[in-house]
C-alpha cells in the first residue's frame, strides 16, 4: 500500500499517493493544466513545456508531469509568471504550425487549437515564413503523416516503443530542424498503428479511414464495446446522419487501458453496409421472398410450432450466436426451452491473437453464452450437433449468425443443410448456404441495440444503441420474445431490466449483478462462475 501525501494546489488541499506525477494528481482533481506530451499510459518525456507550474521552494518553474508529489508541496498554477510561460511555450509551438485547420481532420478536437484559444496570446512575433515539410506522407497501410503539423511531443514515438513495441517512429535531427519520421524504409504497419492518431494532440498523424470524412463536431459519441473479438475493448462510437464514421478507444484500465487494435477499429463497416439483409424473407414456391415483419414472425412461430408437434423438440437443434448480447441469448434459451430443444451449440470463428489486446476468439460474447449455460463441452457442442444432423436424428435447425459457415467444413455443412427439413436463419447477410431456409430473419448489429457483452475474462460490459433501425424493425431480442409468445402463449416483453432480474436469479455467475449497476467500465462476474 502506497503512502499518501497531502499537497496544496492554489490553496486547495489534495491527497495523493506518494511519488505520483504532480500533473496526474492535479488532472485527477479536475484542475485543468494544459499538456501535450504527457500521457497516463506512456513514459514521461517533458518535451512540450506546457504543464509548467511554480512550486514553493524551487528556484524555477517546473514541468508538473515530471515532478513527483511530496508531503507538504505547495503548488501555484494560476500566477502571471506561469501564464506567461505557457503563452511563450504555445507561441513557440505555433511558429511553424501551418494554418491547415479548415482541412485538418483534427480540427475541433485539436489540443493545439483548444490551448491556443484558452491560453495563447493570439499574437505571433516572428516574421520568418513557416517551415515547409512533408505533407500527406503515406507512412503505412492505415496512416498518413503531416510533418508540418507535428509539435514534436513524441507521444507516438513512445507509443511505438513502449506499447506496440515496434519502434517505427522517431524524431530526426535537432532543434529547429527536428522532424518526425519513419526509420529508413520502414512502414507504420503495426496492429495498433491508428492509436498514434488518437494520441496525437494535433493532426500530424491521421487515420486514412477517417481522412476527410466528417467534421468531428458533428459526431455524436456513444459509449459501447468493440464487437470484434473476445477482449471487449471499451470504445466510443461516433455517429452522424445515422451512420458510424469511426470507433475510438475509451479508457478502461481493467480491459484495454486507452488502446484498441486497428482491426477492431476498422471493423464497423458491416453496420453501414448496403448488402445487409434489410427485410425478413420467407420461402414461397421454392424461393425466398421479402415479407413484412409480422408475417415473417408468424410464419416462423407457426413452422416451429408445427415442427414441435410432428417431430418433437428433440429433433430441433439450435446454433447460438456469440455476437448477440447476454440478454438476447438468455431469451433465446427461454425460447429453446419452450420448444423443448436439447441440442445447442455455438460456432466461434478463431483468428490471429497476440499478447496484448487481440484475442483469438473473433466474437464479443462467447464467454457470455457459456456462462449463461446455453452450451457445454470443449467445442461448445458443435461436433455433437453436426453429428446428430448427419445421422438424421436432428431434422430442424435454428441458426443464429453465420459463423458456422466459416467454422465447419463446407461440403459437410452443405450436406447437412441439404437434409434439414426446417431451417430458420437469423443473420446479418443473405448467404447462398441459407437458400433452403424456411424463414430468414435479419439480425441487428451491436450498434443498433442496448445490452451487455461478457468478455473473455468474464467482465460484463454495456453496449448502447447508436444507429436507429427502420421503424417497424424487430431486434434479435424482440424476435426471440415474439416467437416465444407465439409458441408458449406467454405475454413477455423484451425488457432489459426484467431479463436481468431473471438472469441474476437463474444463473449463479450473474448473481451479484444488475443491469443498472453495470457502469461505464463494466463489472466482473462472480468468481464462482469463472
Amino acid at each position: 500500500m502506497a503512502k499518501t501525501v497531502s499537497i496544496q494546489v492554489d490553496g486547495r488541499p489534495l491527497t495523493a499517493p506518494e511519488s505520483a506525477s504532480l500533473l496526474q494528481v492535479m488532472l485527477d482533481a479536475g484542475i485543468d493544466i494544459p499538456h501535450y506530451c504527457y500521457h497516463p499510459k506512456l513514459s514521461i518525456d517533458g518535451s512540450c513545456r506546457l504543464c509548467q507550474v511554480r512550486i514553493e521552494g524551487m528556484p524555477k518553474l517546473q514541468i508538473s508531469c515530471n515532478v513527483q508529489v511530496r508531503e507538504g508541496m505547495t503548488v501555484y498554477t494560476q500566477e502571471p509568471g506561469v501564464a506567461a510561460a505557457r503563452r511563450g511555450a504555445l507561441e513557440l509551438l505555433l511558429i511553424n504550425h501551418p494554418l491547415d485547420c479548415p482541412i485538418c481532420d483534427k480540427a475541433g478536437e485539436c489540443w493545439l487549437q483548444n490551448y491556443a484559444m484558452r491560453y495563447g496570446s493570439r499574437f505571433a512575433s516572428t516574421l520568418d515564413p513557416r517551415r515547409k515539410e512533408g505533407k500527406r506522407l503515406d507512412i503505412g497501410e492505415r496512416m498518413l503523416l503531416d510533418q508540418e503539423r507535428c509539435i514534436l511531443c513524441r507521444r507516438c514515438v513512445r507509443f511505438c516503443r513502449e506499447i506496440s513495441k515496434t519502434g517505427e517512429l522517431t524524431v530526426f535531427n535537432l532543434g529547429d530542424r527536428s522532424q518526425l519520421d519513419i526509420y529508413n524504409g520502414g512502414r507504420l504497419d503495426n496492429d495498433y498503428s491508428i492509436c498514434t492518431a488518437d494520441i496525437c494532440p494535433v493532426g500530424a498523424l491521421e487515420s486514412k479511414d477517417f481522412h476527410h470524412k466528417v467534421r468531428v463536431w458533428f459526431l455524436q459519441e456513444t459509449r459501447s464495446v468493440c464487437p470484434s473479438c473476445a477482449n471487449g475493448c471499451n470504445i466510443a462510437i461516433s455517429e452522424y446522419h445515422n451512420r458510424i464514421w469511426r470507433l475510438v478507444p475509451r479508457r478502461n484500465d481493467a480491459v484495454n487501458d486507452t488502446w484498441m487494435c486497428d482491426w477492431g477499429r476498422l471493423s464497423y463497416g458491416f453496420v453501414n453496409s448496403e448488402d445487409r439483409l434489410r427485410a425478413p424473407m420467407v420461402a414461397r414456391g421454392g424461393a425466398l421472398a421479402q415479407v413484412e415483419w409480422d408475417d415473417a414472425l408468424a410464419a416462423a412461430a407457426g413452422a416451429l410450432g408445427r415442427f414441435k408437434n410432428s417431430h418433437g423438440g428433440k429433433a430441433l437443434g439450435a446454433l447460438i450466436s456469440p455476437h448477440l448480447t447476454n440478454e438476447e441469448n438468455f431469451r433465446f434459451g427461454q425460447l429453446l426451452r419452450a420448444l423443448g430443444v436439447e441440442r445447442t451449440a455455438m460456432a466461434v470463428r478463431r483468428g490471429k491473437a497476440d499478447q496484448f489486446l487481440i484475442k483469438a476468439e473473433k466474437a464479443a460474447n462467447a464467454r457470455g453464452v457459456r456462462e449463461l449455460g446455453l452450451v457445454t463441452g470443449e467445442d461448445d457442442g458443435l461436433e455433437q450437433l453436426l453429428k446428430a444432423a448427419e445421422e438424421g436424428s436432428l431434422k430442424g435447425l435454428y441458426l443464429c449468425g453465420d459463423d458456422i459457415v466459416e467454422v465447419a467444413e463446407r461440403p459437410r455443412l452443405a450436406k447437412i443443410l441439404e437434409r434439414i427439413e426446417l431451417l430458420i436463419v437469423q443473420n446479418l447477410w443473405l448467404r447462398p448456404e441459407f437458400a433452403r431456409a424456411a424463414v430468414l430473419l435479419p439480425s441487428t448489429t451491436f450498434a443498433e441495440k442496448d445490452g451487455t457483452f461478457t468478455n473473455y475474462a468474464g467482465r460484463v460490459q454495456r453496449i448502447s444503441k447508436v444507429i436507429a433501425p427502420p421503424a417497424d424493425w424487430a431486434s434479435d431480442g424482440e424476435i426471440f420474445t415474439r416467437l416465444m409468445n407465439g409458441i408458449a402463449a406467454t405475454h413477455e416483453r423484451f425488457d432489459l431490466a426484467a431479463i436481468w432480474r431473471s438472469i441474476a436469479r437463474e444463473r449463479p455467475p450473474f448473481n451479484q449483478l444488475s443491469f443498472d449497476r453495470i457502469g461505464e467500465t463494466g463489472e466482473p462476474l462472480a468468481e464462482a462462475g469463472a
Partner: protein
C-alpha cells in the same frame, strides 16, 4: 376587493377628424400628380419611374443578402475546402457538406454541397463563418421552385464566378475590415 375605475377623458373628435380628411386629400393629390406625370412622360416616350420587372431589374446594393452561393475561382474550381464551419454556423441546418479528397495542393473539396433554400433564412452567418471567403450572399433572390426537390440547390447550381461576386466580396472586406 372593490374595483377602482378611472374614467379617461377622450380628446374631442372634431379636430382629429378634420386632420384625417385633409391628409387624405393631400395624399390623393400626390398620387394623382405622379400618375399624371408618369402618364404624360410615358405617352411622350420619355423616362418613367416604374421598374418593369421582370423585363427590367433593379441593381440591388451590395449590402443585400440574397441567396448564398459558392465562389468559383478562375480555374473553375470552388474556393470551398469543405471545412464545415458554415454547416455548423447555420441556424436552420440548411447546409449539408460531405468532403472529398483530391491530389491537388489543396487536398480537400466539397464532394457534396447542398443548400435547402426552403430552409435558408438569409441570415448570412455562413458567409461570416467562412474562413476561405468561399460562400457569400449573392444578389440572387429569384429562387421560387415548383417542387420541394427544386428547393435543394446542389454544388453545380451554387457555383458563381468570382468576378460576378466582386461587389459583395469588396463590401465584406470593407465591412469586416479583413
Amino acid at each position: 376587493m372593490a374595483v377602482r375605475v378611472i374614467t379617461v377623458a377622450r380628446p374631442a373628435p372634431g379636430l382629429a377628424r378634420r386632420k384625417l380628411w385633409t391628409s387624405l386629400f393631400v395624399g390623393l393629390a400626390v398620387v394623382t400628380a405622379h400618375f399624371l406625370r408618369n402618364l404624360l412622360k410615358f405617352a411622350s416616350g420619355g423616362q418613367d419611374f416604374t421598374i418593369h420587372y421582370p423585363e427590367q431589374r433593379l441593381l440591388q446594393p451590395p449590402a443585400l443578402r440574397g441567396m448564398p452561393v459558392l465562389v468559383q475561382m478562375e480555374n473553375g474550381k470552388e474556393r470551398c475546402v469543405a471545412c464545415g464551419l458554415c454547416e455548423w454556423a447555420c441556424p436552420t441546418n440548411c447546409i449539408t457538406i460531405f468532403p472529398g479528397e483530391t491530389a491537388n495542393e489543396v487536398e480537400r473539396y466539397p464532394e457534396v454541397f447542398d443548400i435547402d433554400m426552403s430552409r435558408c433564412m438569409f441570415c448570412g452567418l455562413c458567409e461570416e463563418a467562412c474562413p476561405e471567403e468561399a460562400i457569400v450572399m449573392s444578389r440572387q433572390v429569384e429562387i421560387a421552385c415548383y417542387s420541394r426537390a427544386g428547393s435543394m440547390w446542389h454544388k453545380a447550381d451554387l457555383l458563381v464566378p468570382q468576378a460576378q461576386l466582386k461587389t459583395r466580396i469588396d463590401y465584406l472586406r470593407h465591412g469586416y475590415d479583413r
